[in-house]
Amino acid sequence: MSDIEHKLIPQQHEMSFALVEGKPFTKMPVDLYIPPDALEVILEAFEGPLDLLLYLIRRQNLNILDIPILDITQQYVKYIELMHQLNFELAAEYLVMAAMLAEIKSRMLLPKPQSEDEEDEDPRAELVRRLQEYERFKQAAEDIDELPRLGRDFQVLSAYVDVSQFQADDSQVELRDLLMAFKDVMARVDLKASHAIERERLSVRSRMSVVLNSLLKTKTVRFGSLFTKAEGKQGALVTFLAVLELLKAQSLELVQNTPFGEIYLTQPKSIN
């Protein structure tokens, strides 16, 4: 019984944040000296300048509300320099933070204004607020990581069920769901580049499918048969553009056996 009980206790693995030469690092180094080959992995373990700053403060048991700004700035800049020397790709955010620290330091050196307005706030106040705000979410992230998680800490039971009887009523999907999915995915693409899909483009696209579909059935299609009077000029144009697009993508080939003879569409030879 004792055997199983021991086994049943969920194992707490100490989080190692970096692997150096195969050996896991579970703690940040105590002093500023870091073995040169380890620096990169350690720096990679920082989630940005706030994280690095927080580490410097916590490592020395400094009070976050009363940071010795000179000390911290010097240490921070040393780290930045080390990163620089090692050609470690430095995110711009780290440099912005260095500038911010320097600014706070210089403001603290200035004599305090005489007026007793509310404005003579501690120059560190904004930084302290941001550090605390970051720290609480850093903690929240750890807390969330400790919540029992599906797949890692537990599984959902799934007894086998013979679905053949259920096939008739498979999952349903509404056109609206599909449209919303498309809108969302396009919104995400728009984050990177702003190009919307227009109606015209769509009809060329869908006509490309129609053309390929007819090729699947018969292997060769007479070029002229792609066009119908009913669709008018615009329809003909769309079909023509679709064929050009497919040619460009080398998804089909055009064959003409005699000059001015009938043109045929075929599947590209390389595929057959």
Partner: protein, 200 residues
């Protein structure tokens, strides 16, 4: 190790898997205990007894044991299935939407837009439903398949032709016209609100 504990672990393993598990595999559950096939068999027998007269049964198949619903219970389950169609996953819907709007499109292109890999399971599902088919192969290295939608896709989505798919601008309009339709899908907004209050 007591038979009861072995039984509990074997049961949980069988329960989370809808594939049959062999005795040999079940032995893998206990890498540090010196158990034999005999021990596992005893646990299996005990489980079989437990399930007697229940809605689930332990079925012995060629490749191992599988927990499944007993036949007597199927008609009841059917009631639930008919009422509650399975919801398709977001990844699946997005993949289908991209195929519909951007066809012919390769899997790689879908991945480029979505920023994540498209699972084979999704493609298989779409093909099983006959919503999507391979239209041809692109003549580039790897000869990727070009995917497109089918007639059955149009039928199932009540479309006469692909031209009937609304443009992106029109989709945005649907949303503003019927906002309530899109925000009652789950209860998060309300829950969020009260959480925020806790934070203030």
């Amino acid at each position: 190790m007591e038979i009861k504990e072995i039984k509990n672990i074997v049961e949980a393993a069988l329960m989370v898997s809808d594939q049959p598990i062999s005795i040999k595999q079940l032995l893998l559950l206990f890498p540090e205990q010196e158990l034999t096939a005999n021990d596992i068999n005893r646990a299996i027998n005990a489980l079989e007894n437990d399930y007697h007269g229940r809605g689930i049964e332990l079925k012995k198949l060629a490749s191992g044991y599988r927990l499944q619903t007993s036949e007597s219970i199927q008609p009841w389950l059917l009631n639930l299935w008919q009422q509650k169609p399975k919801k398709l996953s977001r990844a699946l819907l997005e993949t289908l939407a991209l195929i519909a709007y951007r066809q012919p499109i390769t899997r790689g292109e879908i991945e480029d837009v979505r920023g994540v890999a498209v699972s084979s399971k999704i493609i298989h599902y779409l093909m099983d439903r006959e919503w999507v088919r391979v239209l041809g192969y692109r003549d580039v290295p790897g000869k990727p398949a070009m995917l497109g939608t089918t007639q059955i896709f149009l039928d199932d989505f009540n479309l006469a032709s692909l031209q009937e798919l609304p443009s992106l601008a029109e989709i945005k309009d649907i949303e503003t016209l019927e906002p309530e339709l899109f925000f009652d899908i789950d209860q998060t907004p309300t829950a969020t609100h009260s959480k925020d209050e806790l934070n203030e």
